[in-house]
């Protein structure tokens, strides 16, 4: 066996990894991959019979592989060298920009959501306004790889515009600052600057005079949702930014929150989720000094960056997240005295689901 040194080298490598795996204490969490790592499963006869025990051991030995972070990096290098630009539905563009693969977005979903919104407003005699936030691929198109599998967002927006009143946001975003400051590279959401463009668009539609931008706060080290799906170890972080106007109270259900940002979430990777303490079925923003009375908003997470700017104009904003709200939307509109139902939604959410159309109490 002494001359078999190729055999011994490979066997030695495997044995060394095995011994280290058994001796070293298991890690709980991988910061690089931002997830919990599997632990050794507890043995049970039942688990052995149904295969869950051996499956658990397999995941354990993969997750707790010694030098796992090095292997993760090596894998990322291999992926990059193989010329692949699409991973887990995320497209790598120029200069560290990541984009969502969107060729599966459905115009039918957009139409259904937009027409439901219009039908809701018609039933209660209000005016519907839809602010549909395009994706970074539509605004920063110079960073997108050629011929990438993307949706035609102008066409989807036109479809929404034919069903309800669509606010003209896409062109405004393209013109503002060349567009690049409007979005994060590693996340699907918009920056404080992007939300400001949205705010100006809403003001123009609702006849409000924009109040100059309040103080903006920044937090470096933001790795967004695209990064989480397709992490590369050498990828640069974004800087999370948001506007923080004074004198606004956030109420989630019965609870009044301290401030507009969740400080615990700001510590983590996904800092955008700190805005308005995350997504909740129903929130209220109150501002005693505001000139106008009330506003009803149907929203998804994109609105979280914009709501506090609008709250400077209204004494009370009620915001319903159509994805989580289980109450009856018709009952809400019945006691609503404002004239406009404003819907702030990412185009991706409009096109990939029917959350507005499926809300309880929607007229059909």
């Amino acid at each position: 066996m002494r001359k078999a040194w190729l055999f011994l080298a490979v066997l030695g490598l495997l044995l060394a990894l095995a011994v280290c795996q058994l001796v070293l204490p298991p890690r709980n969490m991988s910061a690089m991959e931002n997830r919990m790592l599997a632990q050794m499963p507890a043995f049970s006869v039942q688990g052995l019979a149904n295969g869950s025990f051996t499956e658990g051991v397999e995941t354990f030995s993969a997750d707790q592989l010694p030098l796992r972070d090095r292997f993760v990096s090596l894998y990322a290098v291999m992926q990059t060298l193989s010329g692949k630009r699409l991973n887990e539905g995320v497209i790598s563009g120029a200069d560290g920009w990541l984009f969502d693969r969107s060729d599966g977005w459905s115009e039918r979903n957009v139409r259904l959501n937009a027409s439901s919104l219009q039908a809701l407003a018609d039933t209660c005699g209000k005016q519907a306004c839809l602010l549909a936030v395009p994706s970074s691929a539509a605004v920063c198109s110079d960073k997108v790889p050629a011929l990438a599998p993307l949706a035609d967002e102008e066409k989807l927006l036109a479809a929404a515009g034919s069903e309800t009143t669509l606010l003209p946001l896409l062109d405004a975003m393209k013109q503002a600052n060349g567009g690049h400051a409007q979005f994060y590279r590693t996340d699907h959401h918009w920056t404080a600057a992007g939300a400001w463009t949205g705010y100006e668009t809403v003001c123009a539609a609702l006849g409000l005079t924009p109040i100059p931008a309040p103080e903006t706060v920044s937090y470096p080290g933001f790795y967004g949702s695209y990064y989480a799906r397709s992490p590369l170890p050498w990828m640069a972080a974004d800087t999370f930014s948001c506007a923080l106007p004074e004198g606004i109270t956030l109420r989630v259900g019965e609870e009044e929150k301290e401030g507009l940002l969740d400080p615990a979430v700001l510590e983590g990777r996904d800092k955008y989720a700190a805005l308005l303490w995350g997504n909740h079925p129903l929130i209220e923003l109150e501002n005693a000094q505001a000139p106008r009375a009330e506003l009803l908003v149907i929203k998804d997470s994109y609105a979280n960056a914009l709501m506090s700017l609008l709250a400077r104009h209204y004494s009370r904003i009620t915001a319903v997240d159509a994805r989580y709200y289980t109450g009856n939307i018709a009952e809400l509109t019945e006691c609503y005295e404002g004239e406009v139902i404003l819907c702030i939604y990412g185009l991706s959410t409009l096109a990939t689901g029917r959350t507005i159309a499926l809300m309880d109490g929607m007229p059909y």
């Binding site: 190729l6 055999f7 066997l11 990894l17 051996t54 592989l65 291999m78 050629a146 990438a148």
Partner: protein
């Protein structure tokens, strides 16, 4: 347990190879049988009783056939053995399909024991060999079990004959340095074919198949499946050869550059060689082969190819896939000189085209799905994103195609053979890349669950 899992690579492989190496002869077979049972039970503990039944029955019947003097008794014993081996295979694999075909849609389904198509064939082949006096019956139950369930070839072949292994089963197996080195190199190469080529090709197939309305993507998806199934199957076979060498056995190679074939006949001489050999020796030749006139030859071929199709899965698409080769081979028999007359490149291209269309049928979920796929392949509609996908997988395809060309692999093998340090470094680096891939990617499909 799969070869391409970290528990196998880190624990099972080093432990079994090392312990086996140092054991005295009388313990080696027993140890390998126990290890093989553990290997199997790791994935599917509930099928172990089936193992024990097939093992003892096969062993006892072999002994009885050898001892019986009367021809009739031998015949009955062989029949009993074949009913047991092939009946078990039929029961697990084809009962649901059979009931459905005769109009009894009972929703019957059984968990198919992994690798049953391989070891049932191996057991049946053994009994036929004993019956024909081509080989003596194995006296030791443990040695017979080791032959039947040897873990390197247990779940994806190659299908071995007893006479290939009987020598090694009865001597002290202590592989020399050359066998250990080449064994480990083969194993790593097979693992790389599975993990670094077949798995990404499989992921590419799934992505590309889902791209709507583009003929280029349809052909790219078919190309990626063509490469995936070859690298996957070839990878398992090469890993088996490597593991066998490290344990002192010499397995047959199951693939011999099939995608460089110049005709369909040539393709089947290079693809899954041990299965074709099994059908040739135990079905085609006993039926009379090609010596009983043209009509009988055609009927014999029809029988063999229906069975070959069915062996790959209990579905009509697999039968049709077998019939596709029956038709192609009949056509080739009618024009035996055609492949030689054509320029080599054209002959290879035409062969590949036929093989790929066969895979389109093979991969489809039923005839409707196949027709849809065929429609995509010949839609003559092109979407603008087609070129994005071509670029996305260009390097993967380039590497994959290069590995299918004998001149390329031959050159690499020669270079590595000359420089042993370079070879060791390449094998070690390849193993590291495989580990990185396995630690990261959750995409590690097993294609033979229907076999």
């Amino acid at each position: 347990m799969l070869f391409s899992s970290l528990t196998f690579l880190l624990y099972f492989l080093p432990a079994v190879v090392l312990i086996h190496y140092f054991l005295p002869e009388r313990w080696q077979n027993g140890f390998l049988l126990a290890a093989s049972l553990l290997f199997y039970a790791w994935g599917d503990v509930q099928q172990v009783p089936l193992f024990v039944v097939m093992l003892t029955a096969g062993w006892a019947l072999g002994r009885l056939i050898e001892r019986s003097r009367s021809r009739a008794a031998r015949r009955w014993l062989l029949a009993a053995g074949l009913v047991l081996d092939l009946g078990t295979l039929f029961f697990y694999k084809y009962t649901g399909f059979f009931l459905e075909t005769i109009g009894l849609d009972t929703g019957f389904s059984m968990a198919l024991p992994l690798g049953i198509s391989f070891f049932a064939f191996q057991a049946a082949g053994y009994l036929i060999d004993v019956y024909r006096d081509e080989t003596p019956a194995e006296k030791s139950l443990v040695a017979f079990g080791t032959f039947l369930f040897l873990f390197p070839q247990l779940i994806a072949g190659p299908i071995m004959r007893y006479s290939d292994l009987s020598g090694a089963l009865h001597r002290r197996r202590r592989p020399d340095a050359h066998a250990l080195n080449t064994g480990m190199a083969y194993f790593t190469a097979g693992l790389a074919a599975k993990v670094l080529l077949a798995n990404p090709m499989g992921a590419a197939y799934e992505t590309l198949r889902a791209v709507p309305g583009d003929m280029l993507c349809a052909w790219l998806s078919l190309g990626s499946y063509t490469l995936q199934i070859y690298f996957d199957f070839m990878g398992y076979s090469v890993m088996a050869v490597g593991l066998g060498r490290m344990l002192g056995f010499e397995f047959r190679h199951n693939f011999h550059d099939p995608y460089s074939a110049r005709s369909i006949k040539d393709f089947w001489r290079r693809w899954h060689i041990t299965l074709s050999g099994w059908f040739r020796d135990y079905v085609y030749i006993p039926l009379g082969g090609s010596r009983r006139g043209r009509l009988r030859t055609v009927l014999n071929l029809l029988c063999v190819w229906c069975l070959t199709g069915l062996w790959h899965g209990a579905d009509w698409t697999f039968v049709l896939w077998g019939l596709w080769y029956f038709v192609l081979l009949c056509a080739e028999n009618a024009m035996p000189s055609l492949p030689k007359k054509l320029p080599a490149a054209l002959a290879r291209l035409l062969t590949m085209l036929c093989v790929m269309l066969g895979w389109a049928l093979f991969v489809s979920d039923g005839l409707g799905d196949f027709l849809l796929y065929l429609g995509d392949l010949f839609s003559f509609r092109f979407a603008s994103t087609g070129l994005f996908w071509l670029r996305e997988y260009a390097i993967l395809f380039a590497v994959g195609i290069a590995v299918c060309i004998p001149a390329v692999t031959g050159f690499v093998k020669r270079q590595l053979g000359k420089h042993s340090v370079l070879c060791a470094a390449a094998v070690l680096a390849t193993m590291l890349l495989c580990l990185a891939w396995l630690a990261n990617s959750t995409y590690n499909p097993f294609l033979y669950f229907r076999f």
